[in-house]
Symmetry: C2
Subunit: 387 residues, 2 copies
């Protein structure tokens, strides 16, 4: 039990060395590790499991401290005892994505051929590949069907891929602040970040592990650029405005005169302590490639044809990275596919990051949706109650 009061927290790494993971790029991985954490108790018929899919730079610790980084759980507002994703009621699973750097197989993992860390020899992966790996984990846990798959941003992309690829295993799905395809502007921002990493001489064409190097400066710049896109202009103006950082007046130099500069530099510097630059390249690439409609000849609705999954789609008014228009496109396609879908656009000035923050309307929506879905699945009163 962690200090957050979550019962039955367990973190493990499972090695799949007999299952073949055939990736979209054509490569088959026969040796895949997934690091995952579970919270709560799987009920007798294994029908109360919720899979949380994490966003780009998070990990398998949504509700508890990451013992490697010492950082608090990244979604404690939403996940925990009595929280919308209630670990007293549900068995919550979160795994570090394939390609990540939190213990799952990724570019920093040793290549089974004995040549040392993969580096750029790691195959380029997709969101679908991440889901294929998670699917092995769900098999491993003996769960036939997930009660719900939930995630924001890149996590939401995984949610959609789960519903599209493994609909019968997904009773309900909550894609938040996401899109069925990465936009041109989003690809553009990712490309800036990647070029910043590639420009760093410590990158060594991805083979920096052996040289005890890390493209820290490039990765920090990538993080700084990305971080701007996670916040709304309003939030930046409200939090920082043109306030100066610990000084009375500007210094006529290139120091961090403004709080926003100091904040961004801190974001960049702290990020490089916990994230691997190659993982950043691979995961951003997976997001860029994401386009569920393209996987279905341009027809997004076809991806969800005859789906029995219940969807709850959420977006935020001030999110300009994954704007409401993207969610609306998704909802239209789900409706066209005859899906059971509810959609809420939440008023917030916090930008894309709103889904990670204290957003009562999001939490109320999530609670209400899960309660209704739990009734429909017979997990609580109104159906069978497994609490």
């Amino acid at each position: 039990m962690s200090e957050t009061g979550v019962k039955n927290e367990q973190s493990e790494t499972v090695l799949f060395d007999s299952a073949a993971l055939k990736l979209d790029c054509g490569v088959t991985l026969n040796h895949v590790s997934l690091a995952y954490t579970t919270y709560g108790t799987l009920n007798g018929d294994k029908r109360n499991a919720i899979l949380i899919c994490h966003p780009l730079t998070c990990d398998q610790y949504p509700a508890s401290e990451n013992p490697q980084t010492g950082r608090d759980g990244w979604w404690t507002q939403a996940v925990g005892p009595g929280r919308p994703i209630d670990t007293d009621k549900y068995f919550v699973i979160c795994s570090n994505v394939l390609g990540g750097c939190g213990g799952s197989t990724g570019p920093q993992t040793d290549n089974p051929d004995g040549s040392g860390p993969y580096g750029l020899n790691f195959p380029v992966i997709t969101i679908a590949d991440m889901v294929r790996a998670q699917n092995l984990l769900i098999d491993h846990l003996g769960i036939e069907s997930l009660f719900c798959v939930i995630g924001g941003s890149m996590g939401g992309m995984q949610v959609l891929e789960w519903a599209a690829m493994h609909g019968p295993r997904v009773f309900s799905a909550v894609p938040i602040a996401t899109s069925a395809r990465h936009s041109s502007q989003n690809i553009a921002f990712h490309e800036v970040g990647r070029q910043a990493i590639l420009a760093d001489p410590e990158w060594h064409a991805g083979a920096y592990y052996e040289k005890d190097a890390h493209p820290r400066k490039g990765l920090a710049v990538a993080r700084m650029a990305a971080h701007i896109t996670y916040l709304s202009e309003t939030a930046l103006q409200r939090k920082f405005g043109r306030n100066l950082q610990d000084r009375e007046s500007v210094t006529y130099g290139f120091d961090a005169d403004f709080q926003i500069e100091s904040y961004l530099r801190h974001q960049g510097m702290s990020f490089v302590e916990r994230f691997d630059a190659n993982s950043y390249l691979y995961i951003t690439r997976a997001m860029d490639y994401f386009d569920i409609a393209a996987e279905n000849n341009g027809n997004l609705a076809a991806a969800f044809k005859d789906t029995a999954t219940r969807f709850c789609v959420m977006s935020f008014t001030s999110d300009w990275l994954f704007p409401t228009s993207e969610s609306v496109n998704l909802v239209r396609a789900l409706n066209a596919a005859g899906a059971n879908v509810s959609f809420v656009e939440i008023e917030s000035d916090k930008g894309h990051d709103a889904f990670l923050l204290d957003e009562p309307e999001m939490h109320a929506t999530l609670s209400g949706f899960l309660k209704s879905a739990a009734k429909a699945r017979g997990l609580i009163e109104g159906g069978r109650d497994h609490d």
Copy 2:
């Protein structure tokens, strides 16, 4: 006469070596060169001069080819014979800003103390300093009062500073797609660009000139990040979407699979051929420091108190770098100051760059405003006609 049909094009560099230029940072420059171009003919009483202030990465060649870079004039849509800023009617002046790299004094200029190029020993300048230097040029040209000062983006900042500092010399002013202060988000994007340059080992703490180096990779990343902010999400989606670059399918690699990636890389690579990295640092810093209200104890209207200048403010609906809200703030302050001001928000999906492009409504507004101002000044019929 240039190939664009502009009459009397002249490009010169004037050295001010007796006038003292006291900068905001406290340093006094006694040796300042300004490279400038003029088009058209100054009339007898020198009342038909229009000063064009250029944006961040442009130069003193709005209406004709830059002989150094070979690039076309950057504002030929708006400036030339028969254009809204009609070089057949007006005497048009444009100077490379102080701190720039188009021939005016900047960090790449030799320090008069004989120590070689300034590099980081160049004093940090402000938008007001750029205007002070331009003011010396207007003195040099023997012009008492400018008919109009016009500019977009950083050029618009200079326009506002001209009106605030030298109101009696500014008969009319057209600030386009600009703001009276640089926002937190805009400072943030500039800081990302600067950190990308500073991270490049070829930057050598600004002393790269002597080493025959140039932080090309860092400057390219800076340009890529900035370029995204110049375009709207809609324009990116329309121009590039998720289209692939000369290939049928993604390559599962880090090549420029998408057109938007290829476009941004090209923007970055071509920029470093024509722009100096230190100039980029200094000019972005000048923009960050810009805050006319702060120069007047937080009262923006006070900056324009009793102004006789006629203002025409323009913004574009899809410009998220200098959104309409910034122009509205400015217009409110000008109204509070009792100024003669007209304001037009132009419907365009082209983002911030719209002011440089073929925008008929902007051009019509500019023509109409200049015609009306020319009448009021007695330059054309309705008053005295100096054509």
